[in-house]
Amino acid sequence: MASDELSYATIRDIGARLRRRALSPVELTRALLERIERLDPRLHAFVTVTADRALADAKAAEAALGRGDISSPLLGIPVGYKDIYATRGILTTGGSALLADWIPTEDATCVTRLQRAGAVMLGKLITHEFAFGIQFPGHRFAAAKNPWDLERMPGGSSSGSGAALAAGLAFGALGSDTGGSIRGPASFCGITGLKPTYGRCSRAGVLTLSWTLDHTGPMARTVEDCAYLLQALAGHDAADPASSREPVPDYVAPLSRGVRGLRVGVPREYFFEGIDPEVEKGFEQALATLRQLGAALEDVQIPSIQAAGAYTAILLAEAFAYHEHDLREHPERFGEILRERMLAGALITASEYVQAQRLRTQLRADMNAVLRRVDVLATPTSPKTAPTFTTVYDPEYGFPRGNTGPFNMTGLPALALPCGFTAAGLPLSIQITGRPFDEATILRVGHTYEQATSWRTRHPNL
């Protein structure tokens, strides 16, 4: 049985133990598989546990370490993949009854890159239905639960990824983020998630929700661990039409450079609407910590920020376009809520979609202008903490507005990391956003803040 100390170790720490042969990848993987077997029946983070594959990967990593191969920091590190990433020969459901029996013949590029880096595949992590719906009671796939409070959602759509990391069932995970699906679960589960710049990480082999808003990226328990994962993931992929040729810098080495002199902009409009007082208090305390660490803070204005609401129109229209055939031919295979949301996309006119894209252009220009004056932006990741299942299962529960969608509209890199807890013990999160392809700076800000606080050392009582 994996001890909490081992299960909640970082990729850096585990990697160091593996490389000096103080820990065997096979022993580590067996321990995590036992922990998954013990805890996941209550959490439902995994759709598929690939125990045989995990042990085979671990044995390969052990052999590589035996040959003195210590070049990859991910060698022998157990990870999980959101179940919208295609995995060759392994069930990939998208959390949907429509794909309940789909076994891809190829790996998604991101999966290939982590496996080549020596990662151990523990299994596939539950996603909200097609990364957009919610698993209501009776759905073919059970909804993941929040390890901090099993009556609450872990966020979504990378729900299993967030839950697995918070519960110490994996050391890293892949998520995807169309409007906050990496950062939302990171926020609600008290872990770290990075939505890289649009084009930085490949979407090839990942189920589409909205072509122009979809991003792939890493989730982990610390900023540094996200940096290790990003290092392996980032880079051009000819199989993704939106993939960038921007060179990939070193994401790990600059982490320790601190934030002294960095300019942090705080956009107050939009991001504080409807905010919980405890969320606001935690965020303001995080800002105070950044100031103490030497960052220069200033409030900033993004003139067209209210246009960010047009994000939903783009998402709905593109999601309908992608799923139209199945929605018309097999509507019964979609969950009721997801079907209604996607059908709403059919009701958006061509002119409205184009105007939404024009507003997006304005928003990008305004954010880029602000980011010429400051190095990063800081906002609360979510104005609320994790809702209860009772709340979201209410038929009147709508489509919540969040603080993450604006950065899918603009394609800017955004990092979510813990910044405290409510009195009831629910995680709080700060979102750091940066210039295009400047993941290194937001990771540096996040790492510096994280190392000055102890939020990452708290774990749910399971």
Binding site: A242, R245, E246, A346, T349, E352, Q355, L359
Partner: protein, 64 residues
Amino acid sequence: MTLEELRDRMKAARVEIAENRLELVRRLLTDALRPIHAMDSRKHRTLEPAVTFDAGRPRGDHGQ
């Protein structure tokens, strides 16, 4: 958006949504379209829809 307009749009798009869910869909669309309907497109003539970002652009050019 009124429920009547929603029904007109459903007819035009050939989609069916359960009657007891129409109000929720109406709210969803109203929120999604609010900034678009508030936009005066005559004041934004220079704005072109940007559905691609930097793919294929030369190094260092992020389209800013």
